[in-house]
Symmetry: none
DNA sequence: GCCTAATCGAGACGGTACGTCTTGTCTTAAT
DNA sequence: ATTAAGACAAGACGTACCGTCTCGATTAGGC
């Protein structure tokens, strides 16, 4: 029996360290320069890497920034604070904290803007960021159901659509507050947002 | 007595037609090329205008696109459909329809991304787009209060903060659904979103 | 009666100073770096000019160097030293002196090498360098005929072919001596070469 | 018994076939691409050899091309046509035929151009090409002397200098005619050139 | 009916980044 | 030790756009 791996690709293997250095350099450049003044030549320089090495791995600025930003969101965790409201407030505050960081602020919206004309980029954002963080909604719901705060669904498809809706409402509200309205999503705001989310509009207007 | 123009500057006056032509050309270029491939030279060419003329009126690409996109949202109207839920559904569908147009999709998020590092641009977006459309929330609440669907507020400041919150939730959810999740905000989705907004999360999960 | 020139091309006119600065910078770069390490970016930098300005006027490195080198040969003059042999020696020594300069040495042969695969470049070399210096052969012959050292031709076409032949022999020998054999074309060599040219091979072998 | 390799170096021996394949590939690339667009990566690919192998044997493009071109001139032979004039015409026509081949045209002048700034390369050209072909001049003179067409020299040093001069005149004239003037060195031209060389300028002008 | 002055179109200008290409070195596994 | 394969750092390529500038040619109002 021959070697298991087809034939272990010939030639010098790609440096694993380079990938990490490039993504870190990308975030550093986003902090210092912002999206529009970030250049791939500059990123390569910061990472101590040639431009070719960078282009061998990523198709362009968009793809690179998606990957660099996606890592930021992986640190989100759903805390167990004893109630659905408290859990939501906890995770929303974490999300707001990430969106307060300059490397996330300009990078995230810029790639979303580009993705409106680039199907592959849209898919990459969905895979690397959106779908990956939907786990928080699912975990939160499951925990609330275990506590008896929310009923269990009968229909799996409806359940999935509802999770998507909740994700759009939560993520959209925080992003809009932070980047468009350009106001901080502080504890007070998060408390009021969570109240609307759980009890509806009437609850805060009264 | 109002201000009179200081002394009606001498020399050839600026062409009024040029402004409209430039904004229209900008939207056309956004449709064809998207934000990142749109160049001011190209816009000038489409508008039949010299680059100098364009730079005399706008500081750069960002400012130009903000003005070009802002006009799109001025056509939003709050319909009177007899109930708060129906009114919300109506205006959200209009908003979703605008966000389905390519000149709005890439232009809007791009200038928001740029605004994270440019205070003046952020202010321009707030003035030209955000604050201008908050009227819809205020109108909707007033009408709902007149109908007795919502209570009247005692505290003006709390009322203002609530209006901001509602605006962030509504606009944020639609933008996220449309541009990030990249799914259509169709009637079914709008109906379910409105239900959550008015009655809270429990209403759709049951 | 309207203006004579069709309409005096619109727009900012090209800077005349830039042309001279670029050609001078090209020669300076040839001296310092030689042909193969000369870069257009470097030339632009030396000339205090943007790369675009350079590319607007010349198609590439080849064309630029042809023009820069061609100017060097325009300083050649046929001296009147009283005899054909002395006149030839005089002009050949001038030619050798130019070929001793580093900006001519590497530039000239390099563009000739490139011209073997580029018809337009070949034509440019012929026009700017070769044909322009053939005047020296014609002047020299005319003067020798006036002195009675050479007979007058009957046939104009034969006369032209002979001038071409002489030019190839003289220029070729000096270039080969200087660049290929890489020995100096000093007074001694020039004297012996002129002897062969005028009297034939037997004259020096004896 | 000839020299034996000192101690038959350990490890895998160098492939002898590779050298020939590389030189042939170099000439093929010169024909197709010319000097300036010839790359070592391309040559390696054509020869079915890794770039490493190529760099282990030659220092760079210049050295490789010198060797590839040098082989072309080794096929030159001095024909015995019965008279000095006929012998010269014969060998000059052979030389012209080689210079008509594209691999020689661009390769030869390019390495000469490079050699103006590279002493080692100049020496390599002298050794591999120039000195090697001077044998033709020496043979031709010896044969002419045997025939009584040329006198025998008394001074060996003068004889050597004259041989160099003749070589520069012959090679220089043919190269200049072929590459700079870009006209064919055909039989008619060679006949007239030989006449000048043997009898001097007066012979053709009359 | 001039005069004056800001506007207009055109396009050249100095810069800067692009994404690709080549160079010469290096790191693998295989021979 | 040499090989094929291919990744690597470095840096030039020729193009595109930016925002500014310099032109000559309009085009109004004020005189």
């Amino acid at each position: 029996m021959q070697s298991r791996t087809p034939h272990a690709r010939a030639g010098r293997p790609r440096s694993a360290a380079a990938d990490a250095a490039i993504l870190a350099a990308t975030r550093a450049a986003l902090v210092e320069l912002g999206w529009s003044k970030l250049t791939l030549g500059d990123v390569a320089g910061r990472a101590g890497v040639a431009k070719t090495t960078l282009y061998r791995r990523w198709a362009g600025k968009n793809e690179l920034v998606v990957d660099a930003v996606a890592e930021l969101f992986d640190e989100l965790r759903l805390p167990d604070r004893g109630s659905l409201a408290a859990d939501i407030e906890g995770v929303v505050l974490q999300f707001a904290a990430i969106l307060a960081r300059p490397e996330a602020r300009s990078g995230l919206m810029a790639v979303v803007a580009e993705s409106t004309r680039d199907e592959a980029l849209r898919e990459r954002i969905r895979t690397s960021i959106v779908d990956r963080q939907k786990r928080l909604v699912l975990q939160g719901r499951a925990r609330a159901q275990a506590r008896g705060e929310l009923p269990r669904e009968d229909d799996a498809e409806t359940a999935a659509r509802t999770a998507d809706l909740i994700f759009d409402v939560v993520a959209g509200a925080v992003v809009h507050r932070t980047l468009v309205s350009a106001e901080p999503a502080d504890e007070e705001w998060v408390r009021r947002f969570t109240q609307v989310l759980l009890q509806g509009l009437g609850a805060v207007s009264g």
